[in-house]
């Protein structure tokens, strides 16, 4: 008997929670009426679990289940929103009989809902509880020895638990029940239907049929039955005829069938069907090729599935990766500051009920998305190269810079459009608290600017970024700063790599290549400034500009009453943002388009000249030199040589030539005449042969190429 005690305790616990859920259900029933209770509560666990797993896990069983879950939520929302609930508390005093209902009414009065809506929410929550309760009881029933036994024991226990309360109520309140006969009949009915028949019928059905089909048929029958009954029985006219005189006050207009409920019933049936349908097994397994060579595949969810880690471990690893390197660390810290500021702003806004503050907080949150992307790109760029990303993930930073540039353009255009709209229809401007918020925002952004300034502007000491108004100059200086030593530090705001390249080619003009080499050894580490960081920096800069603009326009409006200052400031800021973003967009898109580096054109043409003048080299073709990132240049080249030359020697010479100008990753394909003979023997395309002969005949073509490269 002693070893049974833990089991006994668990059964008691089970009984307790079971009674609580039953109580909530009954309470919901009194609030919503029978039809809505059936609609909301009488669902199989299978449906709810399938819905949850479709919504919250990756392998929920395909789009059909997800759709089912969304429809389920829609059905609940339809009952919640589109049902008629004109009467807020019909008679508050009558229903506040128990403590729980008192608390409940207090809550929904605070929210401002009718008790009808409260009942819907309560029933939905109870449904979720019920699912959890059922899965827990399944586990318990294994330990106890059969679900039938558990059911019996638990029912007895809950009776014992509830008995004192029932006795207490019976003794303290004066009941309006005249005799035991009146109460006996309903009691027996409830006992048999709720506790015996319900359980046994379901058990038998589950034993003889497939559980999903039981759930499906059961739900459909219940819903149609409920709709039918409420349409006939519950109708006021029918109620006159059929019900007892006593129950008339329960059947109010409130629980009558409505359009929203019918709509919800239909959706609910549909979603039950969707959620219980067996999921199709074949997902993403089909991979083939169309005649045009296009891939024919769908997303293979299972193929992409990784081993699951705990959330904590993922966070820890991510944090470690972020803090490893200075760029990502800076972005992360600034993101933290920004988020903290946003949080403070939002809470204060909610506290003081100020819409301006709240919307500004959301705006800050929106800006944080750019930071998050920059952070992710900074972390990602350090990942190891894979088969698919054979050159490594460096280019992610360039792409992120490009996206940030696009982001800023969108922001600029929106600000511009809004400013123009305000020029024509000036709105009411409330300047209260605006100044404080914008000054604080400015402070936060200034921190960001100082943090990021050191990240990528090594050589532009003199430019003050703290000045909002001078930021174009400062920005231009920052862009040119990468090559500052070649352009002599004159800070006009033309910007871009091209400027550096310009100065460079001037310097290298007519001098021997030693100079160029030295220049490169100097400029290489600086020249490759990080486009990702630049994008983030520009974003922060744009925000700072915004704050400055707000401060200026607020001051002007408050002191002089110039309402026009606001759109004018916005116009100015938008122009500023758009102008400052162009160099970044240009640079990143040139890298993404695999352009031949503009800042090395002199070196490249020199190099190619040297290659063609090597002993044994007849000519070369397809010289590909391109920016991989803005720092790293790759090259590939085909050379034709005389039959007696050693290929390896040519390769070594060419790679050393390219190495001089800082290009370390060179692939050289050395071709002799025999190669083309072999190719024709292998049945290769004749255009290769044509190319070769063509090249041999037109040696001067390389001359034209040189001039071309020079003229880049």
């Amino acid at each position: 008997m002693v070893e049974c005690l833990p089991e006994l305790f668990r059964v008691i616990r089970h009984a307790f929670f079971g009674s609580v859920i039953s109580f909530l259900w009954l309470f919901g029933l009194t609030l919503c009426g029978p039809l809505r209770t059936i609609l909301l509560f009488e669902h199989s666990d299978l449906v709810i679990i399938a819905g949850f797993s479709a919504l919250f896990t990756s392998n929920g069983g395909g789009p059909a289940k997800l759709r089912g879950a969304v429809f389920f939520i829609l059905a609940v929302l339809a009952v919640l929103l589109f049902d008629h609930d004109d009467k807020l508390h019909n008679d508050p005093d009558h229903l506040h009989s128990t403590f729980v209902s008192h608390v409940f009414h207090h809550i929904i009065t605070n929210v401002g809902w009718s008790d009808h809506k409260g009942g819907v929410v309560l029933l939905s929550i109870t449904l979720c509880l019920q699912v959890g309760f059922n899965s827990a009881s399944k586990k318990l029933s294994v330990d106890i020895g059969g679900s039938k036994r558990l059911h019996a024991l638990s029912t007895i226990m809950s009776t014992m638990l509830l008995l004192p309360w029932a006795v207490f109520i019976y003794l303290t309140r004066e009941s309006d029940i005249e005799s035991w006969v009146y109460i006996l009949f309903p009691l027996i009915l409830v006992i048999f239907f709720m506790f015996v028949f319900d359980y046994y019928i379901e058990a038998v059905a589950v034993n003889h049929l497939h559980p999903p089909s039981v759930a499906l048929v059961g739900t459909l029958t219940m819903l149609t039955g409920a709709v039918f009954l409420s349409a006939t029985w519950n109708h006021p006219l029918m109620a006159q005829v059929t019900t007892l005189h006593k129950m008339k006050d329960i059947i109010t207009e409130d629980h009558v069938l409505s359009g929203g409920v019918v709509f919800s019933v239909i959706i609910m049936m549909f979603s039950t069907r969707l959620l219980l349908a067996p999921s199709r097994g074949a997902r993403g397994s089909f991979i083939g090729y169309s005649p045009a060579g296009l891939p024919l595949y769908s997303i293979a969810g299972d193929a992409l599935q990784r081993t699951t880690h705990s959330v904590f471990m993922v966070l820890k690893n991510g944090l470690r990766q972020i803090l490893e390197e200075s760029d990502s660390r800076k972005i992360f810290y600034f993101l933290c500051i920004n988020l903290a500021f946003t949080f403070v702003e939002l809470t204060y806004g909610v506290w003081t009920n100020s819409l301006g503050l709240i919307s500004d907080g959301f705006h800050m949150l929106f800006d944080c998305s750019a930071l998050v992307m920059g952070l992710y790109a900074a972390v990602m760029s350090r990942w190891k190269a894979s088969r698919i990303f054979s050159y490594g993930f460096d280019r992610v930073e360039v792409l992120s810079g490009f996206i940030n540039g696009l982001f800023l353009i969108v922001i600029g255009i929106f600000v511009f459009a809004e400013a123009i709209g305000r020029l024509f229809e000036p709105p009411e401007i409330h300047t209260e608290r605006l100044l404080t918020v914008s000054v604080m925002g400015l402070l936060v952004n200034l921190t960001g600017i100082f943090v990021f300034k050191s990240a990528h502007g090594h050589s532009h000491g003199g430019h003050g970024h703290s000045h909002g108004g001078h930021s174009t100059g400062g920005h231009g200086g920052h862009i040119t700063g990468g090559h500052g030593h070649s352009s002599g530090g004159h800070g006009h705001s033309t910007g871009g790599h091209s400027h550096g390249g310009h100065g460079h080619s001037h310097g290298g003009h007519g001098e021997h290549s030693l100079w160029g080499g030295e220049e490169h050894s100097l400029s290489q580490p600086q020249g490759g400034h990080n486009t990702n960081m630049e994008g983030v920096f520009l974003h922060v800069l744009a925000d700072t500009l915004g704050s400055v603009g707000v401060i200026i326009s607020t001051l002007l409006i408050e002191n002089f009453g110039w309402n026009i200052a606001d759109p004018v400031c916005s116009l100015f800021i938008a122009t500023m943002i758009l102008l400052s973003v162009f160099p970044l967009l240009k640079e990143t898109s040139m890298v993404l388009l695999l352009r031949t580096p503009t800042d090395m054109k002199k070196d490249i043409s020199l190099c190619l000249e040297k290659v063609s003048s090597l002993e044994g080299v007849l000519t070369y073709r397809e010289p590909h030199l391109w920016w991989h990132t803005s720092a790293k240049v790759l090259a590939a080249l085909h050379v034709q040589v005389t039959p007696e030359t050693s290929e390896q020697k040519i390769v070594a010479q060419i790679s050393s030539i390219f190495k001089e100008i800082g290009i370390t990753n060179v692939t050289v394909q050395v071709e002799k005449e025999s190669y083309f003979l072999h190719l024709t023997g292998l049945g290769a395309a004749p255009d290769q042969m044509f190319d070769f002969t063509h090249n041999l005949q037109h040696q001067n073509q390389s001359e034209s190429l040189f001039s071309g490269v020079k003229a880049i």
């Binding site: 280019r395 696009l406 993404l592 390896q648 072999h678």
Partner: protein
């Protein structure tokens, strides 16, 4: 490749990038004039753009696209004014689809232009990648616009304002009409390719799923429904239907926040539709190998590795150049007695069916002992810096002197400019006949070569 002399003027090539940028945002490019200083005065930038555009406009196709573009822009402006007058967020979100259509038409123009271009020294791989960038940028811009809508909607939820339903349905119909016309009226090479090749959006997945179950009931519909539906059509209908629902809700129930919620829905749908395309083009821009090609590539490489003399492949880089074309580079390490040209031809012919722009470097270990380590040691082969390891191994003074003597050989190439790469030039061939050497001597030579190399750096 034989077309270098027939290329267009270089100014346009250097400037063409700006053409695209300007097309993307449509605002002033004149103000950003000083960004390209290398337009060295021959022609001004706007005139070049105008020239290129007028060239495209001479084509029949170009005229048609331009007509569509004008129509689309006009309708978008009308729609935007209606959005303003109805005060409806959902209609604004839907209008952004037509703005995306403007971008896709511009992409179409761009691909017309690209088709007429040849590779130039500035863009040695050709201009096809411009299309990729244009599609990426336009999908990205549309998603960012949708993102903005979500942000504005949050602000709207805080302070719900009234929506006038007067022009709501009309606007919906117009936007749907314009969108469908542009989707089906113009043969947009780049966008259509991306739509076909990118993975399905979730809207498409749901549509496929639904139509599959519908076809179980009505098998006759399988002709229409079972092929993959165009995502733009799906989003047009989904957006239209939800806007219709908004109209009903506002008219019957004065339920204004439905408008905002539907705006969020449309924005999310837009993002969901365009996101797979962004991923597809973004991966191309990141120079990645398409995963469905990897299997074929592996097969070809396995075949090629059984060729006589091939030891291994290394530094294999295969990446998508533009829609449907692959580029790649590869190093093949071969046995010392292998015929390099034969191996090259074999590997090239195997791979060229898959990879159109291909560079293969044949690599022989120790091809002449004297400079093996110069090659291996030079960062051209991707090694970091073997200097410390080698210098510890350089023990014999004899080796050093020997290699120094070989080091003094004259450079091999014809013009002797005062260049700095004397030291790395390998010694003459006379040492090649000596095929058997100990690792120690080659190590010593390696040191000496590196010494020469470092002297280059010092000079």
């Amino acid at each position: 490749m034989a077309n270098f002399h027939s290329m267009p003027d270089l100014i346009s090539s250097s400037v063409s990038l700006k053409v695209e940028d300007d097309r993307k945002d449509g605002t002033k490019y004149n103000t950003s004039g000083p960004i390209y200083p290398f337009a060295q005065g021959s022609k001004s930038f706007p005139s070049t753009v105008i020239k290129e555009i007028s060239q495209i406009l001479q084509l029949k196709e170009g005229k048609k696209i331009m007509m569509f573009l004008g129509f689309n822009t006009l309708c978008t402006v009308i729609l935007l004014t209606w959005c303003h007058s109805t005060n409806s967020m959902a209609l604004t979100a839907f209008t952004y689809l037509t703005i995306f259509d403007i971008f896709s038409l511009l992409t179409c123009l761009l691909s017309l232009w690209v088709q007429r271009q040849r590779p130039t020294p500035a863009y040695s791989f050709g201009y096809e990648r411009f299309e990729v960038l244009a599609v990426f940028a336009s999908t990205m811009l549309a998603q960012l616009g949708a993102f903005f809508i979500i942000k504005e909607s949050i602000a709207c939820l805080l302070q719900q304002n009234e929506v006038h339903t007067g022009r709501l349905l009309l606007g919906t119909l117009l936007a749907c009409f314009v969108h469908l016309i542009v989707t089906f009226g113009v043969k947009n090479r780049a966008v259509n390719h991306v739509v076909e090749a990118s993975s399905s959006s979730w809207l498409q997945e749901h549509m496929t799923d639904m139509s599959e179950s519908l076809c179980h009931i009505v098998p006759g519909l399988s002709k229409i429904l079972l092929p993959r539906l165009n995502p733009f059509v799906i989003i047009a209908f989904a957006g239209g239907i939800s806007l219709f629902a908004v109209h009903i809700l506002i008219d019957t129930k004065m339920y204004y926040s439905a408008d905002t919620w539907v705006a969020v829905c449309i924005a999310i749908m837009t993002c969901g539709t365009l996101f797979p395309m962004t991923i597809y083009t973004g991966k191309i821009l990141l120079q990645t190998a398409p995963s469905h090609i990897l299997g074929q590539l592996d097969k070809v490489l396995r075949e090629a590795s059984t060729l006589d003399g091939v030891l291994e492949f290394r530094n294999e880089h295969f990446w998508t150049l533009s829609f449907g074309t692959l580029a790649g580079s590869l190093q093949v390490r071969v046995r010392r007695d292998a015929d390099e040209q034969l191996v090259l031809a074999h590997v090239f012919s195997r791979l060229s069916s898959l990879v159109s722009v291909l560079t293969i470097q044949i690599f022989k270990d120790d091809w002449t002992r004297a400079s093996t380590y110069a090659m291996v040691g030079s960062p051209a082969f991707g090694y970091q810096s073997p200097i410390p390891a080698l210098s510890t191994r350089a023990q014999s003074p004899v080796d050093i002197s020997l290699s120094l003597s070989s080091f003094q050989s004259p450079p091999q190439y014809k013009p002797p400019p005062a260049s700095s790469f004397v030291g790395v030039v390998p010694p003459p061939k006379r040492s090649t006949d000596n095929t058997r050497t100990s690792t120690l001597t080659s190590a010593g030579r390696g040191t000496s070569d590196i010494a020469g190399f470092s002297s280059v750096n010092l000079s």
